[in-house]
C-alpha cells in the first residue's frame, strides 16, 4: 500500500476509534439519566435525584472528551481525505452541516443548563434539559450514521459535470434505509455500554459495601437496560443489519463469514482462524447450513462467496474483518446471557446479595466498548476497498498533497495528545467514583438542600 494512503487510513482509524469510546457512553447514559430524573419526579424520591446528579458528573467529563476528540473528525474530511470531500461533499456535506446546525447548538446549550442550572430551574424544567440533552446527542448520532450509511449505500445523487457527486434527493439521503437500520443497531449498542457501565459502578459499590442504596439503583437500572438492549441488539436490529449487508454488499458478508466459494447450504463458522492464502479455516467449529438460514431463511439457500469477484475487489483485510465481526457477535451473545441471569436474580430479589454475579457485572464493563468498536470495524473494513461503495475507492480518496511525513507528524501528535486525555479521563472518573454519590441527607437537618451540602464539600 502507498505509504501516504496507509498513514491517512491509520490517522482516521485511530482518531475515530478513540473518539467513539466517548460518544457511545454519552448516548448510552443520556436516556438512563433521563430515566433516573423521571423516576425522581414520578416517585417523588430524592434518591433518584442524587443518582442522576452522580451520573451527570461522569457524563460531563465524558462529554467534554467526546467533544474535543470529535472536532478533529470533522476537520479530517478536509485535511486527510480532501479528494473524497471534493467528490462527495455535495451530498454528505448536507448531513454533516445539519449536525452542526441542529444537534451541536442544542447539545451545548442544554448540557450547560443541565449540568449547572439545577438550582436555577424548576424540577420540571431541569427534567426538560435532560430530555433535550438526550435528544441532542441522539440526533447528532443520526446525522453521523446517515453520513456513514450513504458511504455504504449511496442514494439520492447524480454525477456533476466535473465528476463530483451532487444531491438530487434530500429525503433519500436522510431516509436511506441503511441509515435507519444501522442507527437502530448502533444506538442500541450504545445503551448496552451505558447499562453495563452503570451496573459495573453499582456492583463496585455493593461489593465494597459503600453507598449501598445508590449502588442498588445503579445495578437495577443498568441491568434492566443492558438486558433489553442486548436482546434488541441481536434481534431485530442485528438481524436487519446482517440481511442488509447480504443484499447490498454480498462480498462483505462473504469476507465476514470467510465464505470462500459460493455454495448452497453454507455453514455458520463459530470459531476458527481464516487462512486467506489457502482459502480455508483452521480449527473450525461450524453449525451446518446455519448461515444460509440466517441470511435467507432457507436451509439450502445459496450464499455468495468471495470467489464471485476478483481479488482486488475483496475487502483488503479479510482476517481483521472476520475477527471483528466474530468478536462483536460473540460478545453480544455473552451480554444477553449475563444480563439475563442478573435480571432473573433481580426478579427473585437475590441480585444484591449474589456477590459472584456482581463481580461478573463489575468485570463486564470494558466488553461493550470492545463490541461496539468491533462493530464499527466490521462496517468500515467491510466496505473496503471502497470509500463510497461502488463509486470511489479508498486509494483515490485521500489528500494527495499531504505527504506521508506530514501525516505521521500529526498522527503521532494525536497519539500523544490522546494518551494525555486518557490519563486525565481515568484519573477524573476514578475520583468521582471514589468520592461517590452524595450521602443521604441527614433527617435532622430537613431544610438544607442536599445538593449544596455535598457540593460545598467537593469544591
Amino acid at each position: 500500500m502507498d505509504s501516504a494512503l496507509l498513514v491517512h487510513r491509520l490517522h482516521f482509524a485511530f482518531t475515530v476509534t478513540y473518539h467513539y469510546l466517548f460518544p457511545q457512553l454519552t448516548m448510552g447514559l443520556a436516556p438512563l439519566i433521563l430515566i433516573l430524573k423521571t423516576l425522581a419526579i414520578r416517585k417523588n424520591d430524592e434518591r433518584y435525584d442524587r443518582a442522576a446528579r452522580f451520573w451527570a458528573k461522569i457524563f460531563g467529563i465524558n462529554f467534554v472528551i467526546g467533544v474535543v476528540t470529535g472536532i478533529p473528525m470533522e476537520f479530517q474530511f478536509g485535511t486527510n481525505w480532501s479528494y473524497f470531500s471534493r467528490f462527495a461533499g455535495g451530498v454528505i456535506g448536507q448531513t454533516l452541516a445539519m449536525e452542526g446546525c441542529f444537534a451541536f447548538f442544542l447539545e451545548s446549550t442544554f448540557l450547560g443548563l443541565f449540568l449547572y442550572g439545577e438550582k436555577r430551574l424548576s424540577k420540571t424544567m431541569h427534567w426538560f434539559t435532560a430530555l433535550m440533552v438526550f435528544l441532542g446527542s441522539w440526533l447528532s448520532g443520526y446525522f453521523i450514521v446517515a453520513t456513514d450509511a450513504w458511504m455504504q449505500n449511496p442514494v439520492g445523487y447524480e454525477r456533476g459535470a466535473d465528476g463530483s457527486l451532487q444531491l438530487t434527493s434530500f429525503w433519500q439521503l436522510v431516509l436511506n434505509p441503511w441509515a435507519w437500520l444501522q442507527y437502530a443497531h448502533n444506538m442500541s449498542g450504545s445503551v448496552i455500554t451505558g447499562g453495563f457501565v452503570m451496573a459495573a459502578v453499582g456492583s463496585f459499590y455493593l461489593l465494597s459495601r459503600k453507598h449501598v442504596d445508590q449502588g442498588q439503583i445503579f445495578v437495577r437500572v443498568g441491568v434492566i437496560a443492558a438486558l433489553i438492549f442486548s436482546v434488541l441488539q441481536l434481534f431485530p436490529t442485528g438481524d436487519w443489519a446482517g440481511r442488509m449487508v447480504a443484499e447490498k454488499q454480498p462480498v462483505t458478508l462473504a469476507a465476514m463469514e470467510a465464505v470462500w466459494e459460493t455454495s448452497p447450504g453454507a455453514p455458520l463458522v463459530i470459531l476458527g482462524q481464516p487462512d486467506v492464502a489457502q482459502q480455508k479455516i483452521d480449527n473450525a467449529i461450524v453449525i451446518p447450513k446455519m448461515l444460509s438460514f440466517l441470511t435467507w431463511r432457507r436451509w439450502n439457500a445459496e450464499v455468495k462467496g468471495l470467489n464471485q469477484v476478483p481479488k482486488e475487489d475483496w475487502p483488503d483485510n479479510v482476517p481483521l474483518l472476520y475477527y471483528a465481526y466474530h468478536i462483536m457477535v460473540g460478545l453480544g451473545t455473552i451480554f444477553i446471557a449475563v444480563s439475563a441471569v442478573a435480571a432473573f436474580l433481580l426478579w427473585r430479589d437475590k441480585l444484591y446479595q449474589a456477590r459472584w454475579i456482581l463481580w461478573v457485572l463489575l468485570l463486564m464493563f470494558p466488553f461493550p466498548y470492545i463490541a461496539n468498536t468491533a462493530g464499527w470495524i466490521t462496517a468500515e473494513i467491510g466496505r473496503q476497498p471502497w470509500l463510497v461503495y461502488g463509486l470511489l475507492r479508498t486509494a483515490d480518496g485521500y489528500s494527495k498533497m499531504v505527504s506521508a511525513g506530514n501525516g505521521w507528524f500529526s498522527l503521532l501528535g494525536f497519539m500523544g495528545m490522546y494518551t494525555v486525555l486518557s490519563l486525565l479521563f481515568v484519573f477524573l472518573v476514578r475520583r468521582e467514583i471514589e468520592h461517590g454519590p452524595e450521602p443521604e441527607p441527614d433527617p435532622a437537618l430537613p431544610k438544607i438542600k442536599a445538593g449544596s451540602v455535598a457540593s460545598a464539600e467537593v469544591r
Partner: protein, 349 residues
C-alpha cells in the same frame, strides 16, 4: 445562490469570531488580570456557561463551508494541514484547561490548567489571524485546485509562500490584540471590583495599539495585494467598511472613557464585523485567491455544491439558525449580569 451562501458562511465566521473571540480574549488575559484563585474562577465563570456554545459556531461554520463549497473545504483544509492540526490540539488543550480545572482541587494543578488555558487561547487567536491573512494574501494553488503550504519558507510574500510570512504574522498580531481587547471589554461587563478595574485598564492600554495596528494592517494589505481595492472601486458602497471600522474604534474609546462597558463591547463587535466584512468584500467572488496566477483561484462559482443541494440547504439552515438564536438568547439571558461566585456553588467553576 452561491453568492447567498458566500454571505451565509461569512456571517457564520463572523458570529464565531464575535462569540468565541471574547472567550479567547478573556483566556489571553487570564494570567495577567486575574491574580487570585477567586478572580480566576470569576473569569472562568464569566465564559464558562457559554464558551462551548460559542465554539459550536466554528463547527457549524466549518460544516456549512463543507456543504456549500466542497472543493474550497477540500482544498483549503488539506493545504493548511499543519496549522489546522495544531489548531485542533490547541482547542483540545484549551477545553481541558477550562473544564477540568475545577475537578482538581490543589492550587498547583489549578495554576497548571490556567497556564494551558491562557497559552492555548493566545496561540489560537494568532493562528486564526494568520489564517485570515493567508486567505487574503493567496496561496500557491496548482491547476488541479490543490496546494500545500509548509509552516514557513523564507518569511517573504512571494509565489511559494509558507503559512507564516511577515504579512500573515502582522495579521496574527492584529487578531491577538483585537480579540484580547474584545475579551477585556467583555470581562469588564461581567465583573466587579479589582478584576473589573484591571480589565478596564487592559482595554485602555490595548486601544491605542489596536488603532495603530488597524492602520498598519490596511497599509500592509494594500501593499501585498494591490487588487484588494478593485471591488471597492467597482462598488463604492464598500468604502463604508473603513468608515464603520474607525467609527467603531472611536465610539469604543468614547464609551470606555464614559464607563459604558456594554457600549464599548458592542463597539468592539462592530469593529470586528467591519474588519471581516472588509476582507470578505475585497475577496468576492474569490474565496481562496491563487498566488500562482488568478486563473487558478478558487471562486464561489468553481467551488459551490450543486444548486439542488444549496436550495434544500437553505430551508434547513434557516430553521436551524432560528433555533440556535433562540437557544443563545435563552442562555445569555439566563446567565446575564455580573458574575457572583457565592451564588450556586453547584457551578463547576
Amino acid at each position: 445562490m452561491a453568492t447567498i451562501w458566500f454571505m451565509i458562511v461569512a456571517v457564520m465566521v463572523a458570529m464565531y469570531v464575535l462569540f468565541d473571540g471574547f472567550d479567547l480574549g478573556a483566556g489571553a488575559l487570564h494570567l495577567i488580570i486575574a491574580k487570585t484563585d477567586e478572580e480566576r474562577r470569576t473569569v472562568l465563570r464569566a465564559i464558562g456557561p457559554v464558551w462551548d456554545g460559542n465554539e459550536v459556531w466554528l463547527l457549524a461554520a466549518g460544516g456549512t463551508l463543507y456543504f456549500a463549497f466542497p472543493l474550497l473545504y477540500a482544498s483549503s483544509f488539506s493545504g493548511f494541514y499543519l496549522p489546522l492540526m495544531m489548531v485542533l490540539w490547541l482547542l483540545m488543550l484549551r477545553a481541558i484547561g477550562i473544564e477540568f480545572r475545577s475537578h482538581i482541587g490543589d492550587p498547583m494543578s489549578k495554576s497548571f490548567f490556567d497556564v494551558i488555558f491562557s497559552v492555548a487561547s493566545i496561540l489560537l487567536a494568532i493562528f486564526f489571524g494568520a489564517a485570515l491573512g493567508n486567505v487574503v494574501r493567496g496561496v500557491p494553488l496548482n491547476p488541479n485546485h490543490y496546494f500545500f503550504e509548509p509552516l514557513w519558507t523564507n518569511w517573504r510574500v512571494g509565489e511559494q509562500n509558507g503559512i507564516l510570512d511577515w504579512y500573515t504574522v502582522i495579521c496574527g498580531v492584529v487578531a491577538l490584540v483585537t480579540l484580547t481587547l474584545h475579551g477585556s471589554l467583555y470581562l469588564a461587563t461581567k465583573t466587579e471590583g479589582d478584576l473589573n478595574l484591571r480589565a478596564r485598564k487592559a482595554a485602555s492600554v490595548l486601544w491605542p495599539v489596536e488603532m495603530l495596528l488597524t492602520i498598519v494592517s490596511f497599509v500592509a494589505t494594500v501593499l501585498v495585494v494591490p487588487h484588494v481595492l478593485e471591488n471597492y472601486s467597482k462598488w463604492p458602497i464598500g468604502y463604508l467598511v473603513p468608515v464603520v471600522v474607525f467609527a467603531s474604534l472611536g465610539y469604543m474609546s468614547y464609551a470606555h472613557n464614559k464607563g459604558n462597558d456594554k457600549g464599548a463591547f458592542l463597539a468592539s463587535c462592530g469593529y470586528i464585523v467591519g474588519m471581516l466584512v472588509g476582507a470578505a468584500f475585497a475577496l468576492y467572488p474569490n474565496v481562496l485567491p491563487a498566488s500562482t496566477g488568478p486563473e487558478y483561484s478558487l471562486t464561489i462559482f468553481n467551488t459551490a455544491a450543486g444548486s439542488h443541494g444549496l436550495g434544500v440547504g437553505f430551508v434547513w439552515w434557516t430553521l436551524g439558525m432560528l433555533l440556535a438564536i433562540g437557544y443563545f438568547v435563552f442562555i445569555y439571558r439566563m446567565f446575564r449580569g455580573k458574575v457572583k461566585l457565592e451564588e450556586g456553588s453547584d457551578h463547576g467553576y
